[in-house]
Structures are given as structure tokens and as C-alpha cells.
């Protein structure tokens, strides 16, 4: 029996995924239906499924579990389903419409049928406070104490449950926000609030206001949820530490997340690059990794560049322009509406389209036999023979081949082509959306996909990733053995991560070493204080990084430059300047060598490293040839109909090679190997696919 365990959990809308790691580095998968009324119930069930494979009981495993990492879509869904707290927004007098305006823009300017989106906080719950700071943080109009108290009494009358405060220029001088916060504590004790200057001290009033509003609105809900979760787990015998996953691609203490619940928004996909970095390090040493996760309704792609997850401040909830921007620096995980359940259709001009509409879990693809009557990507895969109808979800669900052929046949009739051509077309178009999303996140950020490793997973991830990799010119593709539960697996490799930032504008032409030292010392102080809180934690070590967000004079969008020195000498500054020019050229193809550089935000990131599953060879090697379980008739564009072997994943041993065309059936995903690709089982038991491009 293992002496300790670590559990990674990803609670999705449909399934709760669990990865249980023991002290030998073994990782076992558990899956159960998500129980929305009481999340811990589905969680414990999934843990039970994983524990059973070790011959242990849930209580046994929980008692020996040191860390339980919890990724969840709960915060994201609460926002999208508008089930958050009744929240008020306090703004500077004269500017009540900051959340209505957003930053403008619309996805399709020719579409006049889309209604203007509602603001995150209704206008009737937005209150204007007489006060004003200037751009330099001087008081232009003093804080009006009487008016503030009047607002607070209205908040009470309106039964407001949470308060967000965002005043102009509060990131330069937070005094007025702090004063309002103090009045709230005095007059509305217990009502949670968020100050924009504490949560997200960046320029651009919409981004601060949106972050503060989202954060405040989640506080009552997430506080209750996490407290209840702790209680339930303790009741089940858990004595270790519960650590929620965050959008920074790490984990945080429950107390920290309760203070800033916005960190839990899109925390699941943020685990992608964590997993990517861990597997790349263990398998190949790649520094640039693209992580692709294909589920039923969406394809999430994220990136590790130079060994670190790529972050962005552009996370939209509910669609670019018309949704809500979180505004925080977070792992950049892009999502496109293309997955196994995406619906195929033929437009008025006779062209095939796939998605973004999805059949979801109900009715699901036609082949699920639950009344779905429109062709989906999964149906196309069934028609093409890529999914073994008798071994779907490890044989737990039979697929209706006839239904799949019927709906794809409808598409073929409209296109005037054969059944197989239509199915292959659906696969190709779905892949195309994924290729574009991947290109956008790599090429736009100056990463060449041809020199990168792709790590793929998700239930539908094996169907077309070889096609996608080939289209991107990417030669190597890794499917972890736990590919079907990518995020829960990423949770196994995450550390505690926390960031601080300071706004201090400095210029390359009059760079002040003393001032830079001051900023960095301030950030070091924050980190030291945070480190003190770890006495009782099982932390193996700490890592500190500094990042500066910089731009050419006059630009307004910064790029991130990791500091490689502590900026003590003029030479260090020269090196930083050269680093900026290079990075700007790498991303945007232009360099303005004589232009002044402005350094805007200084960030410190601290990682408290946790113990992780050992990535060691756990399977016996096998010299023998892999044995196919059966042969199956499939269709590929290049070859037409062809009979190919199917291998059961659990029968494969390290060192074995499988040449495409072939299928590898794992319990939670199927990998389609096209001709010209070859899979090798690595010493760690993962599938490394090499592709001729």
C-alpha cells in the first residue's frame, strides 16, 4: 500500500475527472458524473473508482492523501448562468457606464440581429461616488464622506450581497477606494467587497471594474462552496490540504481563493500548460509546448514558451467583446467551439460548415442513440471507423453505427459526395478551426509550431490531432496515458503560485537604477512575507521570478519580458533593452531600435514547489511486437477504404512501435494514427507519435 497519495480533480459540467497518484508515481484515473447539488458526492465517487484499481477504499485513500487539488468550472458557470451574488458597483461620479461600454467592438459588424449585451452589474445597482484622482494620483476632487454614507445606506436598502469598488486612477492612488472599503466594513460588516486597486492594479478603468465586479459577485458563493467542500472532505476522512486550482496555472490556499475567487475562473484549462511543461520535461526536454485539449463542445489550446506558461490579460467569459473580461493576468487558454459534439451543416452556398453549435451531452451525437438527429464530429468518426462501437468509454457505452451513417448520409446528399467523403470532410473542417486557434496562439506570440512539441488530450483529442499536427508542420505529438483527463492530470503537477505587481513607469532613456531597485525590493518584501506563511506546509522549495511589462513609447499594449538580472548596473539595463527589442521583433516582425522603451508594470511571481508524482518508468519494457486486438475497416482520404489494426492501450509496453494507419484504443480516448505517422510507447508509458511532414 502506498504511504501517501495526491489527488487531482477537475469538476466539469458533465463529468468529474480524478487522477490519483501514489508514492510509486503510478497514476490512476477515476471518472464519475458531476453532482451539481453536492459537488463532493461525485468527487468522492470518482475517487472511489480510482481507489478501487489499487484495491483500496475511498476512506483509506483519503486518510493518506496529503494534497487534494481541486479544479472546477463552478465559478465560470456561475457567471455564465448569472447565478452570482446581487452585486453593487461603486464608480467615480460621472462615469456610471463603464461596464456598459466595455471596450466597444462586436464580432460580426454586419449582423444587426444581435442584441447589445447586458453589463455585468446592472445600471440600477451602480452608484456614483463624488471624488476624483488625476493621472498622477493627486486629489482633484476630495472624497465626499456624506455621499459615501448615503450610498452605503442605499446598498443596505437594496439588499446588496457584495460590493465592487472601482474609482478612476485608484491603481496610482488607492486612498479613496481604501476609505470606501473601511466605511463598508464599519457599516455593512460581513458583506464581502473587492477594491479594484488591490485585486488588479492596472491602467484601463473597464478592466479593473470588470475584474472587481466579477470577483465581488463570486465571493458569497465561492466562500460557501469551498467551506462546504472542506467540511465534506473532512467528514469523509480527509486530513490533508485542499488546494483550489487558479487561473495562474497553479494552486492557492483556500483562504487566498476565498479572498480572490476570480482566481478560480477558467482554472481548469489553466492546468493545461502545467501538464505540458511537466511531461515535456520528463519526456523530451522541449521548451516550447502546445497543449491541446478536445472535449465534447470545445477545443482548448494553451502554450508553454521557453519553459513557462504563456499568460494574457484577455480572458473573456461568454465571447470576445460581448462577454465579460476578467482583466487579470492569467494562463492564456483559448477556447473554440469545436469538439466531438460539434454539429455539421451545409450552408446556403453549398459549403460544409462545422460548429459552433454542439449537440452537448443531451441528446449528444446521433451515434449515442439518445435522439440526436444531426451529424456531429463523433458521428463522422464512427462512419470513418475511427471509433470502435464496442469499445467506446472502455466498452461501457455501445455506439449506434446505423444512426451515425444516416445523419452523415444526409450531409453527403447535400454535398453530392460519398458518405466517406462527407465524413472525412467534417473531420477536416473541424480540424481547420483547431488549426487556426493553435496558429493564433503560437504564431501571433512568436512561437513557430514546427519547432514545438504538441501534447494532446481530452476525450475527442485522439481523433484528429495527427491531422492537425501535420497541418501545423509539427513533427512530434505526445499523448500522455492519462490523456483523457488532461486537466485532472495537470493538477498533479501544479505548484502554489502567487503574483504581485507594482505600477511604476520608467523609461529606457532616463532609467533610474535606484528607483528600479526600490520597486524590486518592494516586491521582494511581499514575497518574503508570503513565504513566512508556509511553515506548516509541505513545500519543497521556492522559486522567484520577476517580469516587466514594456512597450515602445506611445504604444499602449505591453509585452512581457522576464528579468534576467536584478538591474544593479547600467549593463543590466542595456541587456534588458536589447531583450525588449528582440522580443518585439520576434512577435511583431518590427524593431524600432532608436525608440525609447517604457517599462510599465513590474510583476513578481512566487512558486512554492510541492511534491509531485515521480515521473519514472513504471512499466516493464516489452521486446515483443505489439499484438493487435482486431482489424477494422476505416477510411482515409489518401488511401480510401482500408483495413487497419486496432491496439488496446493497456496491452502495449514501453519500446513498442506502432506504424500508422492504425488505432490505439485507450479507455477514455482513441488515437487515430494516419499513414506516415508512427507511435512509440515511451518508458513512462506515454504515446509519442512521430509524423512525416
Amino acid at each position: 500500500m502506498s504511504s501517501y497519495y495526491r489527488i487531482g480533480i477537475d469538476t466539469g459540467g458533465t463529468f468529474t475527472d480524478v487522477v490519483l497518484a501514489d508514492d510509486q508515481g503510478r497514476m490512476l484515473i477515476g471518472k464519475a458524473l458531476t453532482t451539481k447539488e453536492k459537488i463532493s458526492q461525485g468527487m468522492l465517487e470518482a475517487i472511489g473508482v480510482a481507489a478501487e484499481q489499487l484495491g483500496a477504499s475511498t476512506a483509506d485513500v483519503l486518510a493518506k492523501t496529503q494534497l487534494l487539488i481541486y479544479g472546477s468550472t463552478r465559478a465560470t458557470n456561475a457567471i455564465l448562468e448569472e447565478k452570482t451574488a446581487r452585486t453593487a458597483l461603486i464608480v467615480t461620479e460621472g462615469f456610471p457606464d463603464v461596464l456598459v461600454r466595455r471596450e466597444g467592438g462586436k464580432e460580426n459588424p454586419w449582423d444587426f440581429t444581435q442584441p447589445f449585451p447586458e453589463p455585468y452589474v446592472p445600471r440600477r445597482q451602480t452608484f456614483e461616488l463624488p471624488e476624483r484622482m488625476t493621472a498622477e494620483g493627486e486629489i482633484f476632487k476630495p472624497f465626499d464622506e456624506a455621499a459615501a454614507l448615503e450610498i452605503i445606506s442605499r446598498l443596505r436598502q437594496e439588499n446588496i450581497e457584495a460590493v465592487a469598488v472601482c474609482l478612476l486612477w485608484s491603481m496610482v492612488n488607492p486612498a479613496h477606494e481604501e476609505r470606501f472599503g473601511a466605511l463598508l466594513e464599519q457599516h455593512m460588516p460581513g458583506v464581502p467587497y473587492t477594491l479594484s486597486s488591490r485585486l488588479n492594479p492596472v491602467i484601463r478603468e473597464y478592466r479593473r471594474a470588470s475584474a472587481a465586479a466579477i470577483d465581488a459577485s463570486l465571493k458569497p458563493l465561492m466562500q460557501e462552496h469551498l467551506r462546504e467542500m472542506e467540511t465534506d472532505l473532512q467528514a469523509a476522512g480527509f486530513r490533508g490540504d485542499l488546494l483550489p486550482a487558479t487561473s495562474l496555472g497553479g494552486v492557492a490556499a483556500v483562504g487566498d481563493v476565498i479572498e480572490r475567487p476570480i482566481l478560480m475562473v477558467r482554472s481548469g484549462p489553466a492546468l493545461g500548460p502545467v501538464l505540458g511543461a511537466a511531461y515535456a520535461e520528463a519526456e523530451t526536454g522541449d521548451q516550447n509546448v502546445i497543449v491541446c485539449d478536445t472535449g465534447g463542445t470545445s477545443f482548448d489550446v494553451s502554450l508553454v514558451r521557453d519553459g513557462r506558461p504563456v499568460r494574457s490579460r484577455e480572458t473573456w467569459l461568454g465571447g470576445r467583446y460581448s462577454g465579460h473580461l476578467t482583466g487579470l493576468s492569467a494562463v492564456d487558454a483559448r477556447s473554440v467551439g469545436s469538439g466531438g459534439g460539434s454539429i455539421a451543416w451545409v450552408d446556403a452556398g453549398g459549403l460544409l460548415q462545422v460548429g459552433p453549435e454542439s449537440a452537448g451531452a443531451m441528446p449528444g451525437p446521433a451515434c449515442y442513440g439518445r435522439g440526436g438527429d444531426r451529424a456531429t464530429v463523433t458521428d463522422a468518426a464512427v462512419v470513418l471507423g475511427y471509433l470502435d462501437p464496442d469499445y467506446f468509454l472502455g466498452g461501457r457505452m455501445a455506439l449506434d453505427v446505423k444512426a451515425a451513417r444516416q445523419v452523415v448520409g444526409g450531409i453527403a446528399d447535400r454535398l453530392g459526395c460519398s458518405l466517406h467523403e462527407a465524413a472525412y470532410g467534417i473531420m477536416t473542417i473541424a480540424s481547420e478551426h483547431m488549426v487556426e486557434a493553435t496558429k493564433e496562439i503560437t504564431i501571433n506570440e512568436g512561437v513557430d509550431p514546427r519547432d514545438s512539441l504538441i501534447i494532446a488530450g481530452g476525450g475527442a483529442g485522439g481523433l484528429n490531432l495527427v491531422l492537425i499536427a501535420r497541418e501545423l508542420g509539427c513533427k512530434r505529438l505526445l499523448f500522455p496515458r492519462t490523456a483523457g483527463v488532461l486537466c485532472a492530470c495537470g493538477a498533479q503537477f501544479s505548484d502554489i503560485a502567487r503574483e504581485w505587481s507594482a505600477s511604476r513607469v520608467m523609461r529606457s532613456d532616463r532609467f533610474d537604477l535606484a528607483e528600479a531597485g526600490e520597486v524590486l525590493d518592494h516586491l521582494r518584501g511581499e514575497m518574503a512575507a508570503f513565504e513566512q506563511t508556509f511553515e506548516n506546509w509541505r513545500v519543497e522549495g521556492f522559486r522567484q521570478e520577476f517580469i516587466v511589462e514594456a512597450r515602445y513609447l506611445g504604444q499602449v499594449w505591453e509585452i512581457e519580458i522576464p528579468l534576467q538580472s536584478d538591474l544593479k548596473t547600467q549593463q543590466d539595463v542595456e541587456a534588458l533593452i536589447a531583450q525588449f527589442h528582440d522580443a518585439h521583433e520576434a512577435i511583431f516582425a518590427i524593431r524600432d531600435a532608436n525608440e525609447v522603451i517604457e517599462f510599465m508594470q513590474w510583476r513578481a511571481r512566487m512558486t512554492a514547489q510541492l511534491k509531485k508524482p515521480a515521473m519514472e518508468a513504471v512499466l516493464e519494457g516489452g521486446a515483443q511486437e505489439p499484438a493487435a486486438a482486431k482489424r477494422i475497416s476505416t477510411y482515409f482520404r489518401e488511401t480510401g477504404e482500408v483495413e487497419i489494426p486496432v491496439y488496446q492501450g493497456e496491452t502495449l509496453k514501453p519500446g513498442m512501435r506502432i506504424e500508422g494507419p492504425a488505432l490505439i484504443a485507450e479507455p477514455t480516448t482513441t488515437i487515430v494514427l494516419h499513414a506516415g505517422s508512427e507511435a512509440r510507447v515511451t518508458a513512462l508509458g506515454n504515446h509519442m507519435v512521430e509524423i512525416d511532414v
Binding site: E93, G94, F95, P96, D97, V100, R101, R102, E103, G104, G105, K106, N108, P109, W110, F112, T113, P115, F116, P122, R123, R124, T134, A135, F140, L168, W169, I203, R204, E205, D347, A348, G349, G350, L351, L352, Q353, L415, G416, Y424, G425, T428, I429, E432, H433, E436, K439, E440, N444, Y552, L553, G554, Q555, V556, W557, H584, F588, A589, I590, E595
Partner: protein, 576 residues
């Protein structure tokens, strides 16, 4: 030709239809990457915050191929601009880039600097990669990119580049750079924006070459032909579904000095579903006027097309193929036609453009209650003005830039209310809004308020979006504001019993707090302690306000979009 119920699948296709979809996506993706580059690297706020620029790809026979995410007015006429490359140069080759801002040669107006990069594959000019950006300054007689009072191009006085080579062998031709630097008011900003625009066009060039290398010249060339044909079929099909009819609408631009009655615009539209053609006739309009509001040919054509396209299924691709189904009839020496030199087209992307788009889209509402749109608001008053002066915070450096803080209300449609951050008809919903903090950081101004105005959206079964009102002023030194609050006298009209949106206004707040009206068009100077207050206009409503869903009226009241008085008197709402 008989009216068809659907569109036949491609029969003469040599290309796999799947590949057609894939390649169409690829071209769009290239344009998106160009756009992202320009947005993130531009120096002036009008580019890097308000996004007043566009990127597109044009074929070697001057068909617009992809212009996703672009401003409507900027690019739909790009095919009129690209012929200049070979017309004026017989030694075009790889590595060239051309600067083109001449409204008499297919450009929109002088302030829109366009970089054209011919993309060569195996010695053949296959595509032109285009990036067009509105400049902070273009060397006009006054510190503004809009010159309403200019009698002709000589008074307008902006620097004109009639498709001039600005790069050879991928290197700047310094003569041209020096010309710009010596005449444009903020030379460093101009140069930074030039680099950003050029960078976008070069990224487009690089990606197009990679695309052709990946798929082969033959495939790409046949794709282009088929994609344009497909788009034409889609447009033909959409038109075939419309009722036939001849539609007329008029609009009137507000008065200008010497034009006390304003400038009327007449549009006649012939919808011919059987021929799958829409014809827009603009010939029945007045001659060019001695003011900066004449339209360039590109703007005239494009405006009529925008008005039509706003009323056609939004999923039909907008490109040279679908444009073949729209005939725009123009005449020489016409204020909305082909300008007669030296008429000034300084404001050819806004004023008459907006009037023309509005009249066209409103005309379609005559076809029935499910067609057309009301009129969109289109003021460019205080909150969208061009500010200039010196910034005491950076040693008196000069600044000049159009701010896009305020906004106009969008038109109601047959199914929903107007869009709040609409911009204007010429660039509806594509430009972004400035951040107050970014503006105050970059320019020495203080904004005192910025909010939506109650009751300013035109009432209707569907309501026009409300106008914004702004108050701002200089902090340390005097500041000049050039503005043009159009729709101060002729509001954006409603359609089918919908009411017009509220009209714009501009006021000055003196040091003692008193307010006086300013003329709706002008250039005004403010001292620190003085403020300018301005409202743009509201969008027109569509349908009878009494037919508005009562739940919508109740929500409008609760959220403060309308006052209780208006709810009762205009909507007939009695609290039910």
C-alpha cells in the same frame, strides 16, 4: 432567369469544396494576424486603442478577397486603389511597398495612409497585401484630419501620396520618410504608426507566400476564383429571397457655411430578385460643393454597398465576388459620386458617407417589417473630436489626435434594439472605445463625466441606442478641439413609424460655471478651467413605440434608459 429556391451545389468546381472552406479560413486568419500586429504596435491612440485601421488582401485583378475585422468604409473599395501600383510604376518588384492616400486614385480620404505591398510568387504579382490606418495628423492646414470648411484640396493642404514607392528591397526610401517627417505635426508618432502599418502589410506578404508554398500556385489561384464565385452565388441567393421593388429615400446633411439649407442625399434602389441584382442609383444628387464633405469615388461606392450589405444575410462573405451583385451608379462632379478636382474629400469617410448609408438601409425598410434598418447616429462632436496642444508633463511636446471616448447610438433593427457602442454607420461596431485613463495618460486632459443620455435613443417597437455625453477640458495649457457635431439639425431618422434619435449638441462651460452653446461645427480653444460639453446623437427607432413589448419598456425604465415621462407619453406605458 427564373427565381430559384436554393443554390445548386458547385457543379463546375475543380476544387474539393472542403479545401475551399479550409483556404477561405486561411485567408481570414492572415488578415486577423495583420490586424493584431497593427493594433498592438501602433503608437497613436486612434490605432492602438480605438482601432481606426483596416487590413485586407486584394487579388492581382483587384478583387477584395478577405477583409475580416476591418472597418467597412476603409476596405470595400480597396480594389479601386491597387491598380495604381502598375499604372504608375513599370519596375514593380518584390520588396516594394507603396504609400497611397490619394482620394482621386481610389483612396477614401487623405488622412487614411494606405500601405500596399505587392506579393510576388515566382516572379508573378499574385496578391496585394494592404493596411490602411487613419493618421493622428496628415499635414492639413489645421491640426485636424477633418477639414469641413476647406473650399478645395489647396485649402485642405494635406500631403498627398499618389501611390508613391516608400520601400524598395524591403528598405525605406528615405526621401519619402523625410517628406512626411518635415510636414506632419507629430513626426515620431507618424513614423511609429508607419512602422506598425508596414509591419502588418509585410506579415500579410510573408503569410501569403507561405500559403502558396503550402498549397501550390494552381490550387490557390483556382481557390480564389471559386471562392469569389461562391460568394457571388450566396449574394445572388440572398437577393433572390427579397421582394422586388424600387425604393427611394433621402437624407440631408446639416448646414455648412455657404450651404445654409444643408446638403441633400437622394438614393434610388432597384431590388431585382429575378436577376439577383441590387442597383443603387446616386446620380440624382447635387454637384460637388465647396466644402470638405465631398465623397471620393471609393467612399461613394462603398457607402452605397454598406447600406445594402447591412440589410443582407450577415453570413454572406463580403468580398469582390458578392459585390458583383450590387451595381452602384455614379456620375462625375457629384457630391456623392466621382469628385471633380480640386474638390476636397477631407471628410469622405464620415459625413456624407453616413448620410448615404443611412438613407440606403432605411429605404430597405419599405420592403416590409422584417427588412432594413433605422438610421444610425453619426456625430463627431466633442467626444470624438481632434484635440491638440502642448503637454507640460513632457517638456511641452506637441500632441494631436482624435479621441474616441464618446459614442453614437446604433439603429434599431427589425428584431432588436440599437447597439450602444456603435461608432458610426461607416465603421459600425468595428472601432473600439478609448479608455479614459489611457487618454488622460497620453494627453494633458481631464474628463469630468462620460455617460449615456436618457431618452436619447429613438423610440420604436425596437429602440435606437442612446447617445453618450462627455465633459472634458485641458489641465495645464490651452488646448484646441476640432469637432463636427453633425446631426445637430437633421437627426438620424426612425423607420416604419419609429422615431428619430436625439440630436447632438456642443457647449462650453466657462470658468464661472456658466454654459453657452457652441456652433455644431468648429474649432475651439479652451483654457485650463474651461470645459467642453458635448453629446453625440441617438440611433433611430424602428416600428411603432406603442407596439413595443411591455416587458422591454419596463426594463428600460428600471435600468434608466428612458424616463417615466417618456415611457408614458411616447410608449403609452401605464405600469402594466
Amino acid at each position: 432567369m427564373a427565381r430559384k429556391e436554393g443554390v445548386e451545389p458547385t457543379t463546375d468546381s475543380q476544387l474539393d469544396p472542403i479545401l475551399v472552406s479550409v483556404l477561405a479560413n486561411r485567408f481570414d486568419a492572415i488578415v486577423r494576424e495583420m490586424t493584431n500586429t497593427l493594433f498592438r504596435t501602433g503608437r497613436s491612440a486612434i490605432l492602438n486603442t480605438a482601432k481606426d485601421f483596416s487590413c485586407c488582401i486584394v487579388t492581382n485583378d483587384h478583387n477584395l478577397l478577405s477583409a475580416v475585422d476591418s472597418l467597412q468604409i476603409h476596405v470595400m473599395g480597396a480594389g479601386l486603389q491597387t491598380p495604381s501600383i502598375h499604372e504608375f510604376h513599370d519596375d514593380v518588384c518584390e520588396g516594394d511597398a507603396f504609400l497611397h492616400n490619394d482620394p482621386y486614385l481610389g483612396n477614401t480620404h487623405i488622412a487614411d495612409h494606405t500601405i500596399l505591398v505587392p506579393v510576388y510568387v515566382d516572379g508573378e504579382h499574385l496578391f496585394t497585401s494592404c493596411a490602411k490606418a487613419h493618421q493622428a495628423d496628415c499635414g492639413n492646414a489645421q491640426p485636424t484630419t477633418y477639414m469641413p470648411f476647406a473650399q478645395d484640396v489647396y485649402e485642405e493642404a494635406g500631403l498627398v501620396f499618389p501611390c508613391v514607392r516608400i520601400q524598395k528591397d524591403y528598405r525605406d526610401i528615405d526621401d519619402i520618410i523625410r517628406m512626411c517627417r518635415s510636414r506632419i505635426r507629430v513626426p515620431d508618432v507618424w513614423f511609429g504608426d508607419y512602422l506598425a502599418t508596414l509591419g502588418a502589410a509585410r506579415i500579410g506578404e510573408k503569410r501569403l507566400k507561405e500559403l502558396v508554398a503550402r498549397y501550390g500556385r494552381e490550387t490557390v489561384v483556382s481557390f480564389v476564383r471559386e471562392w469569389l464565385d461562391y460568394s457571388e452565388r450566396r449574394m445572388g441567393h440572398a437577393i433572390s429571397q427579397l421582394p422586388a421593388g424600387e425604393l427611394r429615400a433621402s437624407s440631408c446633411h446639416d448646414p455648412l457655411p455657404g450651404l445654409p439649407d444643408g446638403v441633400p442625399v437622394n438614393v434610388t434602389i432597384r431590388v431585382k430578385p429575378e436577376d439577383e441584382i441590387i442597383e443603387v442609383d446616386l446620380r440624382d444628387n447635387v454637384d460637388c460643393v465647396p466644402a470638405g464633405i465631398n465623397l471620393s469615388e471609393a467612399s461613394s461606392r462603398t457607402s452605397a454597398m454598406i447600406g445594402v450589405l447591412n440589410c443582407v444575410d450577415s453570413s454572406v462573405p463580403r468580398n469582390g465576388g458578392s459585390f458583383r451583385r450590387i451595381n452602384v451608379l455614379l456620375r462625375d462632379n457629384c457630391v456623392v459620386g466621382k469628385p471633380k478636382f480640386p474638390a476636397s474629400c477631407s471628410m469622405a469617410t464620415t459625413n456624407m458617407t453616413n448620410r448615404l448609408i443611412n438613407a440606403t438601409q432605411r429605404a430597405f425598410s419599405e420592403l416590409g417589417s422584417e427588412y432594413g434598418l433605422a438610421e444610425g447616429a453619426a456625430s463627431m462632436g466633442a467626444g470624438l473630436g481632434v484635440i491638440s496642444g502642448k503637454d507640460a508633463r513632457s517638456n511641452g511636446d506637441e500632441y494631436v489626435n482624435q479621441i474616441l471616448l464618446s459614442n453614437n447610438g446604433g439603429p434599431a433593427s427589425p428584431v432588436c434594439d440599437g447597439w450602444v457602442t456603435y461608432g458610426m454607420p461607416d465603421c459600425a461596431t468595428t472601432t473600439l472605445v478609448d479608455s479614459i485613463e489611457i487618454c488622460e495618460l497620453k494627453y494633458p486632459i481631464l474628463v469630468r463625466s462620460l455617460h449615456l443620455l436618457k431618452d436619447s435613443g429613438g423610440a420604436g417597437k425596437f429602440r435606437g441606442a442612446p447617445a453618450h455625453e462627455i465633459v472634458y477640458g485641458p489641465r495645464f495649457d490651452k488646448m484646441t478641439v476640432a469637432y463636427f457635431a453633425e446631426m445637430n439639425q437633421h437627426p438620424p431618422l426612425g423607420a416604419r413609424e419609429g422615431l428619430p434619435g436625439a440630436m447632438s449638441y456642443v457647449r462650453k462651460i466657462e470658468k464661472d460655471g456658466s454654459e453657452t452653446d457652441l456652433p455644431p461645427i468648429g474649432v475651439t480653444e479652451l483654457e485650463p478651467g474651461e470645459w467642453i460639453r458635448g453629446a453625440e446623437s441617438g440611433g433611430g427607432g424602428l416600428g411603432d413605440p406603442h407596439e413595443r413589448d411591455r416587458e422591454r419598456v419596463r426594463r428600460d425604465l428600471e435600468e434608466g434608459w428612458v424616463t417615466p415621462e417618456a415611457a408614458a407619453s411616447v410608449y403609452g406605458y401605464r405600469g402594466e
